[in-house]
Symmetry: C2
Subunit: 151 residues, 2 copies
DNA sequence: TATTGTTATACTCTATAACTATA
DNA sequence: TATAGTTATAGAGTATAACAATA
């Protein structure tokens, strides 16, 4: 009853009591659901995340993004190239070698669609989490992330 | 104060209020911490997970594992081969084309070390989650995973 | 034919090293 | 020299299609 294995009742799942295990499995399922929502828009989760950040920080640089999203600058390159190729992102020379990024008009449009998809996704998540626990869950995840980074 | 961005205070993080985003980021950090714990044992998270399951289900088959862990059978092949190569896993012919898997004596030893690593990992997670909330968090993750799979 | 296992392949995410360009 | 960006590469997780073997 406490074990989420349905078939083959003779099998035991020693992973089932582990938070880390369910964290991984749940993240995979939840992220796949978001990817499905984004699929009609022609972008994946990473690109959409970048687009959302960009929409809120027009004119920021690639290294700003890397620091804020804790992504390796090298890993942003293909995402930025994809968005530029779609014509939703505009590059302008900044200080030094920096390049400032902003959204085009098409980019603003896509940003609106992506925001809507993320909102639908979050409200679906909200259906599994009592509203009064939402902030507590967020705080717990942030804490867990901080602690895991400095073990 | 509610935003976890430390530097560049002029930047806004529209992802910060999203559960899905923190689920992803936290899982990456937590899983990397587990990988660090397992590194001295010479196996990665996937192989360790398989070993734990195997230790609790000696004589199960590869398709049992796939169903229980919701892994694609094709993705289990390299993990099983790695464990067999390490000499910790024994294959015996089963019914039909099935192969039953069990741990060798070395496998039992490695299993004990892996269990210990997972316990240390879980107790580190426990330091970020109040003990009285642990079961609630587990229930929430399981629920979220179930709901995400049937949107 | 249905089940089990395997191979090949592809996409995504993450990480590091080595390189280039600019102040 | 320090910062910003890029390229190449590697490892891990996930997924599907196609195939082989066995009851």
């Amino acid at each position: 009853m406490s074990n989420s294995l349905s078939p083959s009742p003779e099998l035991v799942d020693p992973l089932d009591p582990l938070i880390g295990y369910h964290l991984r499995r749940t993240t995979v399922a939840v992220t796949a659901a978001l990817a499905d929502l984004l699929h009609p828009l022609g972008i994946n989760v990473g690109e959409a995340t970048l687009l959302l950040f960009l929409g809120a920080n027009q004119g920021c640089t690639q290294s700003d993004i890397g620091r804020a999203l804790r992504a390796q600058p090298a890993n942003l390159v293909p995402l930025i190239n994809k968005l530029a190729l779609l014509g939703v992102l505009d590059k302008q020379p900044g200080k030094g070698r920096a390049i400032t990024l902003s959204l085009t008009t098409d980019g603003e449009r896509l940003h609106a669609s992506v925001s809507e998809a993320f909102e639908r996704h979050e409200s679906r998540i909200g259906r599994s989490i009592p509203a009064e626990r939402r902030d507590e869950v967020l705080a717990l995840l942030r804490q867990l992330c901080r602690d895991a980074c400095h073990p």
